[in-house]
């Protein structure tokens, strides 16, 4: 039973991966399409990383801090040492993880609401610090960031897409492995009941910090990838919206599952882009607010649970 489940998920994963690889070949090398897809991949990574933290029962409202720290670190190192972004992206991730552990240390003892507030405030603090350190970060004007792949190479955007796709797949695979490993089980146990987990001999602090570090690491990588794609970074990267998007993606897709953030990011981006074509403005966000409320209320496991819901409905009818 379990094996069958696993294999169908793997099957699905492979098919969507093949599709992702083929998209540029089917539709041609469209700069716009690939830009949209690259950003989507970045946010899939980001949402999955956020989801990993939520797995330990810690819901962050300020993940943009790590997203931005990753971006700034990578851009600054790449600029000052003159090395390729490939190496510095990792540095961005590691520095974000380091900061993540620090903020995690403050958070481990806190309850959900407190943690939400502290992370939210943390993003504001990081924003202020970044603008104050203008000798390093360029202040409000921001600083240029190297392109991932030099624009002089013909069809560079295609390589960039495949590169980001590759990184996304690796990140998702690692997160999947973590979720399925003992660590994932421990995190789940902590989420369900911290006290019981402690009694069972799980080192709660260690695992919570680990979740923070890993989540911040991948968020930092996603942030670094985005700004190396953009070629410029400004403090706008710490915007509240940037903190909230991954939450919306995860909840609507399906919290605490590996496929939830992926599906959520794709569907919400798609919805957003198509409603934009109708000229919807505020209505779009009203709709997103409604979706959030309705999903929390009626579909707590997100869109991924729709097939199961239908299935159980059908079964109860027959």
């Amino acid at each position: 039973m379990k094996l069958g489940r696993l294999s169908i998920k793997a099957y699905l994963g492979i098919v969507s991966l093949i599709l992702a690889v083929l998209i540029p070949l089917i539709l041609g090398i469209s700069h716009y399409l690939l830009t949209v897809l690259i950003l989507m991949l970045v946010f899939i990574m980001y949402a999955s990383a956020w989801n990993l933290l939520a797995l330990s029962g810690q819901g962050s409202l300020g993940h943009a801090a790590f997203f931005g720290i990753g971006g700034y670190t990578s851009a600054i190192i790449a600029n000052s040492l003159g090395i390729s972004p490939f190496a510095t992206i990792l540095a961005g991730g590691f520095f974000a993880a380091f900061i993540g552990v620090l903020i995690g240390l403050t958070c481990v003892r806190l309850r959900e609401w407190f943690l939400a507030m502290v992370t939210f405030g943390f993003a504001i603090i990081v924003h202020t610090v970044t603008t104050e350190l203008s000798w390093l970060t360029g202040g409000w004007d921001g600083i240029p960031a190297k392109k991932l792949i030099p624009v002089t190479i013909p069809n560079y955007i295609l390589y960039e897409y495949y590169l980001v796709l590759l990184i996304t797949v690796i990140v998702i695979a690692i997160i999947y492995l973590i979720m399925k490993s003992k660590i994932g089980l421990a995190l789940e146990a902590i989420r369900e009941n911290e006290l019981e987990a402690k009694v069972m001999g799980i080192n709660v602090t260690k695992y919570k910090l680990m979740a923070f570090a890993v989540s911040a690491f991948f968020t930092g990588i996603a942030g670094a990838l985005e700004i190396h794609h953009f070629g410029y970074i400004t403090p706008e990267v710490y915007g509240i919206d940037i903190s909230f998007w991954p939450i919306i993606y995860c909840i609507s897709g399906g919290l605490l599952t590996i496929e939830g953030p992926i599906l959520g990011t794709i569907l919400i981006t798609l919805l957003d882009e198509s409603l934009k074509n109708f000229g919807w403005t505020y209505e779009r966000y009203i709709l997103i607010g409604l979706i959030l409320i309705l999903v929390v209320r009626f579909l707590p496991k997100g869109f991924v649970s729709i097939p199961e819901k239908i299935k159980s409905k059908l079964r109860s009818h027959s």
Partner: protein
């Protein structure tokens, strides 16, 4: 069976995704039209400004098309505007500029609002070498940055440096002598200036412009207080109290409309900081006059296009016509960003005409050498032209003073500077209170206070913990 069902669903969803995205693509370029991509925040935080920009551009394009289009090397071409919504976000900006350039294949870009967003989507434009007439982002970095090739960017709106410069020069030339005469100050006494700026690229930019002007012109001025505030702050009372304690002669807030309204009304009403308030051009807006009410009387505004004051001289008729046409078409008067975007479309049309082709390199060269008569905003020497170094057009910014108008129950601006366009003289109100050097206080007093305060807090917290 069920497994296949899910599989099929996923494949279909992915395909739909691919197709719908693909369909956004693929607009064909007509042979005899000039495609202008208008980059503006039509949704999100700055949507009001963005909508103004779009409406002005439509007005300009309609006017040009009604007059027969643009004569490009003997062929009359119509202008087609393509909407580019940045959603007031970096992601949105990059996506839409990429779309305009690679899918809609526009010949030239006009617009761009907010320096943070523009600096990201500029990278795309530079990469594809598409000329971009920037009419809404005020940071000088836009054309000064060196990491990308900026030679395709033309800045047609004043920069934060320009705001600071004209305002400070006006203060030095007009306000200072008036104060010094009335209060018998010695000429060597430096003018006491307080700056209260928004903590953003815009506010910091204005403050830099002020400092640069004082230095470059070697003005006898002293910044006695520099305070900053967070964007969309609403409570300025504490900051204004501290500014008042520094005893300034004039106060220069670099703020947006909502903030400026509150700064002036809280300063006059709550803190009794009875001084001359200066302001940046974005506050020359009907909402400002309604919001600031009587508190705004006698305050100073820098401007280049406004709802009420019209610079006297050659521009007058053009401004009235533009305003009436705009109001007839859209039901409300145009804004300042609208005016420069309106001109931006005309500049784009003129450049294509001069180049005689839609080739982007040729259009760029034509823009670099363009010389057009000013349209609805006063330009230096009456000509729209871009400087050779950083491709910035130079505006003739003017200063206006708000005077109470009993008939409308609001203040109305009157242009007081420079002489070429002025309507009336600057007046120093009778309630005006100048600053004077504060008496020297005991050094280190605040530090003792601060340390004592911190110790007290620490003590309380620690005691509680026990």
């Amino acid at each position: 069976m069920r497994k296949y069902g899910i599989l099929v669903t996923v494949v279909i969803v992915s395909l739909l995704l691919a197709i719908s995205l693909g369909q956004l693509a693929g607009a064909e370029s007509e042979a005899d039209e000039i495609k202008i991509g208008l980059v503006a925040p039509l949704t999100g935080g700055a949507s009001t400004t963005g909508t103004d920009m779009w409406e002005s551009a439509v007005l300009a394009a309609d006017e040009i098309n009604a007059a027969g289009g643009v004569n490009v090397n003997g062929v009359n071409m119509q202008i087609t505007l393509v909407k580019g919504d940045t959603e007031t976000s970096r992601e949105g900006g990059v996506k839409v500029v990429t779309k305009l350039i690679t899918e809609d294949e526009v010949d030239i870009l006009v617009g761009g609002f907010s320096s943070g967003i523009t600096s990201a989507d500029q990278v795309v434009a530079a990469e594809h070498k598409v000329p971009f007439i920037i009419t809404g982002a005020s940071s000088p970095t836009i054309t000064h940055r060196t990491d990308i090739d900026t030679s395709y960017f033309f800045h047609h709106c004043p920069t934060t440096d320009d705001y600071g410069e004209s305002t400070i020069l006006f203060v030095d030339e007009i306000v200072k002598p008036e104060i010094y005469e009335q209060f018998d100050f010695p000429a060597d006494r430096p003018l006491r200036l307080a700056v209260l700026y928004q903590d953003s690229a815009y506010g910091v930019g204005v403050y830099d412009g002020i400092k640069k002007t004082i230095e470059n012109y070697n003005l006898n001025m002293e910044v006695v207080a520099e305070e900053k505030f967070k964007m969309s702050e609403t409570d300025f009372r504490t900051t204004l109290t501290v500014i008042k304690a520094a005893e300034p002669d004039v106060v220069y807030p670099a703020a947006f409309l909502n903030e400026q309204t509150l700064i002036v009304s809280q300063g006059m009403r709550d803190v009794s900081l009875n001084t001359i308030y200066l302001s940046v051009e974005c506050n020359d807006d009907p909402d400002y006059y309604t919001g600031v009410e009587r508190w705004g009387e006698y305050s100073i505004q820098e401007s280049r296009f406004g709802p009420y004051a019209i610079p006297s001289g050659p521009l007058q008729d053009a401004v009235v016509k533009f305003r009436d046409d705009f109001e007839a078409k859209w039901g409300a008067p145009p804004s300042m960003m609208g005016a420069s975007t309106y001109e931006g479309v005309y500049i784009a049309a003129e450049a294509v005409k001069d180049a005689g082709t839609r080739d982007k390199g040729a259009v760029r060269d034509a823009l670099a050498g363009i010389e057009m008569t000013q349209m609805v905003e006063a330009m230096k020497d009456g000509v729209i032209t871009f400087t050779p170094d950083y491709r910035e057009s130079k505006f003739e910014l003017y200063m206006q003073q708000l005077i109470w108008d009993e008939t409308v129950g609001e203040t109305r601006p009157k242009i007081v500077w420079p002489d070429s366009v002025k309507e009336t003289d600057f007046v120093l109100p009778d309630w005006y209170e100048p600053g004077s050097a504060p008496t020297p206080e005991e050094p280190g007093f605040e530090a003792v206070f601060a340390i004592a305060g911190l110790l007290a807090v620490a003590y309380l917290v620690l005691r509680r913990q026990k």
